[in-house]
Amino acid sequence: MDTRSILIVGVGGQGTLLASRILGSLFVDLGYDVKISEVHGMAQRGGSVVTHVRYGTKVFSPLVEPGTADILLAFEKMEALRWIHFLKEQGRAIINSQEIEPMSMIMGAYEYPKDLEDRIRNVCPGAVFFDALAVAKELGNIKVANTVLIGVLARFLNVEPLMWEKAIKTAVPPKTIEVNLKAFHRGYNSELS
């Protein structure tokens, strides 16, 4: 199989690394060659962060290049737009509707763009927006927002839910398996706009 690419973007501290670990574990179980490139260090302190996930028969570069991503999974709305040009022509965008202001906006130098959804849909008409934070809050743990998003993503990959569950169990801290599985299914079974 040709190499496929998923780009996970967000704001440092949002837990994008956990999402990539779930995907990594899944694709290894499915027998693919996998490479994941992560960001550690300074950007994890609230900066724009990106994790690259690539899988296929044989993967060379761990990096997703502009114009080559099959899926963009965004944990934050403005970050979705920042990385949208990494998508292929027919690529799919799955976007958490959470908004986090960068410091330049907090300082009043800019306003958080109001037309983000339109700008995103201009480039990627099929973009899916989803309020994962709200679901995570209902489940009583805002940290599982990433697993909710993984659930939404899972609807677009042709993989058995059981395989996803196995990957989640491997990747998340043992104590949080139950709530993460719930979070996954909430995302997987949700109505999408």
Partner: protein, 575 residues
């Protein structure tokens, strides 16, 4: 068994399988996780050393004493460890000694993008460069063999995209490597001029032998494809180039110092157009060109930043990939976390309009707006010496509005000697130690002041106050950086002194505690929109068109903003 592993974890695994007994390091992105993973093996003694020089010296001692030893650091850490490096190149080893150095092209988390391959050349030490996690594991094992066979330390160079990428590795067993005998060998281990002169001859002999052996070493390999394009590459660049031009011919170098001249010549003779693609400096290119081999390199590739598959396609095949333009958006640089202890003291420093020499750590982020609390950042420990230098250049009056700002771990790394200099040479600087009980930026590692080792054992923590007093500083004050009034008073008093002083601001890093306090909120009716709270630079406090607002998903409930709001508009839920 197969597993997905971070390059750094694979390095640790390689060390484990190679029978390593001692692993040392000072944390530094992108190398930190190597030693964290090494510490998980019961068979390996692992430690956080106070700095990279000590880390290398401990590893040298272990090697001389007969145990395989590994030390890991980031590229700038090798500057600190360069002194022992150049001489251990002369002494050689007893049991194998491997030095891992992680470069950071593109400066994801560094103050420069120096190329460590120059160190390998300058210190006459062989250097290997893996291209994925499996190679990271395999190359560590090979490096120990080479180290013992050629009686030399061996460097392994990683870059961020190898260190922090996961790929699949096959695990092996730990080799049964016995402790070697320890013998007193003054001719080899005591580098006084007479002995060192002889050893230098050995070093040259060894590098020649290695250069010769490199031609047949399995990690240097030719992959013939279409002969119209030949590419010489190593490390991550090999992967980018394979992605870009899968049908080209490749010479993949696993050893980047010394270079296999015959192999390169033979490869060059088989291809029509030869390229050498490397990130950062033209280290391979200059050597290859010096042998009269025509090769294209930095004529078309930049010396700054990271390369990419798209760039390689564009430069070599002349095809620009069809990519939509990037959107124009405000940038999102990193910021100190909500609840960060540094925010309190920086807020006061800004208010007092102090100048400050800064240092390396999370607190470097305080240079950015709105706090803009520090003026400089050069290297680990520099703040202390630089404040002293500023005073000597501009006089004592200047020092009355100047502080040096340094973290606890950084102070132990290399701030102490600067402080001794201030005392010895009659400076009057005030040094502020931001003690957050951890090494924050690299992901919360322990250090001598935290009371815990890398293995989690409890120890007696280094007593900073006693240490500083012993240096000869009389005025040492401990403050809570969130007690803004006290901080202001103490900073004013201590900077006024015609003697040196140290202020230790103690409060744990906001990420150390797992439990979050309830987030705060702003009462719209009481808030007068004065904007003082925004000056804290807390990422949770936002200014929306309908007024100030605290982002409930981000606020950690630290309560600092309550203290700066003069109108009592900021409240904890239920109060």
């Amino acid at each position: 068994m197969k597993r997905l592993m971070l390059g750094n974890e694979a390095i640790a695994r390689g060390a484990y399988e190679a029978g390593v007994r001692v692993a040392t390091a000072y944390p530094g992105t992108p190398s930190t996780e190597i030693t964290e993973f090494a510490a998980k093996y019961d068979e390996i003694y692992a430690e956080w050393s106070p700095n990279e020089k000590v880390a290398l010296e401990v590893a040298i001692g272990a090697s001389f004493a007969g145990a395989r030893a590994m030390v890991a650091m980031k590229h700038v850490g090798l500057n600190v460890a360069a002194d022992p490096l150049f001489t251990v190149s002369y002494t050689g080893v007893n049991a194998g000694l491997v030095i891992i150095v992680a470069d950071d092209p593109g400066m994801h988390s560094s103050q420069n993008e120096q190329d460590s391959r120059y160190y390998a050349r300058a210190s006459q030490v062989p250097m290997l460069e893996p291209a994925d996690s499996q190679e990271a594991l395999d190359f560590v094992k090979l490096a120990f063999e080479l180290s013992e066979e050629y009686d030399t330390p061996v460097l392994i160079r990683l870059t961020t995209r190898i260190a922090h990428s996961q790929s699949i590795v096959t695990l092996g067993e730990r080799m049964d490597i016995k402790l070697k005998d320890y013998k007193k060998l003054p001719d080899k281990n005591v580098m006084m001029p007479a002995m060192a002169r002889k050893r230098h001859v050995e070093v040259e002999r060894r590098m020649k032998a290695l250069a010769d052996a490199a031609n047949d070493l399995w990690i240097n390999r030719i992959e013939m494809g279409d002969t119209s394009i030949g590419i010489i590459a190593s490390g991550i660049v090999y992967q980018y180039a394979k992605e870009a031009l899968p049908n080209a011919s490749f010479l993949k170098l696993g050893m980047v110092n010394p270079l296999p001249r015959r192999l390169i010549e033979s490869f060059a003779s088989k291809v029509r157009k030869l390229y050498v693609i490397e990130e950062l400096e033209p280290v391979l290119e200059e050597q290859i060109k010096s042998w009269g081999i025509p090769v294209i390199g930095k004529e078309i590739f930049p010396v700054q930043g990271e390369l990419s598959a798209n760039m390689i396609v564009e430069k070599i095949a002349g095809r620009a990939p069809d990519v939509r333009p990037a959107q124009d958006l405000p940038p999102r640089p990193p910021v100190m976390c909500p609840g960060c202890p540094h925010r309190g003291i920086y807020y006061v420093m800004k208010k007092l309009r102090f100048h400050a020499t800064g240092d390396i750590g999370c607190y470097t982020l305080g240079a950015l707006p709105p706090l803009e609390a520090i003026d400089t950042c050069v290297c680990m420990g520099a703040s202390v010496g630089m404040a002293h230098g500023m005073e000597k250049a501009r006089g004592r009056d200047f020092s009355r509005r100047l502080v040096a700002v340094i973290g606890d771990s950084t102070f132990i790394h290399s701030g102490i000697t600067g402080l001794i200099d201030i005392v010895y040479n009659q400076g009057t600087s005030t040094v502020v130690i931001l003690d957050n009980y951890t090494t924050g930026m690299t992901g919360h590692q322990d250090h001598p002041g935290t009371g815990r080792t890398i293995k989690g054992e409890a120890i007696t923590p280094l007593n900073l106050v006693n240490l500083i007093k012993a240096i000869g500083i009389e005025h040492v004050r401990v403050v809570d950086p969130f007690d803004l009034e006290e901080v202001e008073k103490v900073l004013k008093e201590e900077t006024q002194r015609e003697e040196p002083s140290v202020v230790i601001a103690q409060r744990p890093c906001a990420l150390l505690s797992k439990e979050m306090k309830a987030p705060l909120s702003i009462d719209r009716d009481t808030c007068r929109l004065c904007g003082v709270c925004l000056r804290l630079g807390c990422p949770a406090i936002e200014k929306k068109s309908d007024g100030m607002h605290i982002n409930q998903a981000l606020c950690n409930g630290c309560g600092l903003c309550i203290k700066v709001c003069k109108f009592g508009a900021i409240r904890r839920a239920g109060e």
